[in-house]
Subunit: 241 residues, 2 copies
């Protein structure tokens, strides 16, 4: 690797990401105006615009004309538009209502450890939730969180959070999810999940393994999600939106 020197706008991008990663600028906050950033980094406004534009494209910042540029907040709407892929057969998306089925501290199995990049046997939180869409059970989630990142998280806090799970990560722990990787396969419902989802055992379910990452590719969560396909599926648009 020749490691060519960074261009000016790359330096600005890195500087901004740095300020976000260390928590100097928090979610929902307005970041300094473009002329101010330009002076601070010693570049022109156009260069700042290029850097900020790329970060907007990466779902890290949002611009609002006349108001400023803000660190993204994981509001419900944002979640729905950026990360939530479950839709009904007409392509409509709706945020689910979740209930906690179990909440426990345990140790990471090999697969979880690999995905979260922690040591096998390191402590993790395991949370199972049942999600309802249109008031019908639709999704069962089996979530694993590295305890190191969420040391004081308890069931009450988790269940009574006002917004989304990613919103909780952000507001309480300063962890902003900027990327997820989904691997979708099909599976047969076992007795327990069939009962939870109100299906016959042996029904076909979507099995979604999703890992979520914050800045600099740090994994913060991995979950397995079982989706009832009676009314819903995984919707994905490739190309321009």
């Amino acid at each position: 690797m020749p490691a060519r020197p960074l261009t000016a706008y790359e330096r600005v991008k890195q500087g901004i990401t740095e300020a976000l990663g260390t928590g100097r600028w928090r979610h929902g906050q307005r970041i300094p105006s473009e002329p101010l950033l330009a002076r601070r980094f010693g570049v022109s406004v156009g260069t700042v615009r290029k850097a900020v534009g790329e970060l907007v494209g990466e779902n890290i910042l949002v611009r609002e004309q006349g108001r400023g540029t803000f660190v993204v907040s994981h509001t419900r709407d944002y979640m729905l538009n950026v990360f939530f892929r479950i839709a009904d057969r007409e392509g409509r998306k709706e945020l689910p209502q979740g209930t906690v089925l179990s909440f426990e501290r345990t140790k990471a199995d090999r697969e979880t450890a690999r995905l979260l990049r922690i040591a096998p046997g390191a402590r993790v939180l395991r949370v199972e939730t049942l999600l309802r869409l249109h008031d019908r059970p639709a999704v069962v989630d089996d979530i694993r969180l590295p305890l190191r990142l969420f040391p004081d998280l308890d069931e009450r806090t988790f269940a009574d959070r006002p917004g989304t799970i990613f919103g909780l990560f952000q507001s309480r722990y300063g962890l902003t999810v900027v990327r997820t990787e989904d691997f979708v396969t099909a599976a047969l419902a076992d007795d327990r999940r069939a009962a939870l989802l109100d299906l016959a055992p042996g029904a076909a379910l979507l099995h979604v393994r999703r890992t979520a990452f914050t800045y600099r590719d740090q994994p913060v969560e991995t979950r397995v999600r079982y989706v009832s396909c009676v009314r819903h599926g995984y919707l994905n648009v490739l190309g321009k939106p």
Copy 2:
């Protein structure tokens, strides 16, 4: 809708898309240089750059420093990176080898007509193919094409094409796929598909309904794709790449 007048860069975008849609600039070709386009549209180079930049983001053009800007070609590599979502459990993608199972002219059922935006009963081509990955049967496709767009397509031409299906659409019919919509659910294998995929009947399969669009949101193809989940799944990254 007030229909505010287009900005300069939007006019340039529209002008370029127009030239693509009418086939004046064909896939693989180099489009005029930025200074030339700037003179032609009566705007500055910076404005052309913004327009071209957005079209690059929409997978319609590709820039190559020192060489020029080109209309995207559906090469195998391009397909693999932009539209092909099937990967093995380590996230590795590989282009499949396809064989034609059936090829016939028929009439559009209601669902096909709706998705292709043609009249119910309009003539369509139906093609079934079996795809192999790592030399094992992995995917069964059931493809519907509006005959109006592909009037002279026969089985031989389809089967003996040198590249991908989208590449054939582009090189022979001037239709460039720029967007697809995938709706993924789970299903149980019927006897025929189980036999084709070398699975037990009743195995869980991914059922992917995919519709492909060219410029200006015109649908050119819809297919149902059954994916064996023994070794593969549907891989999707949300957020920055």
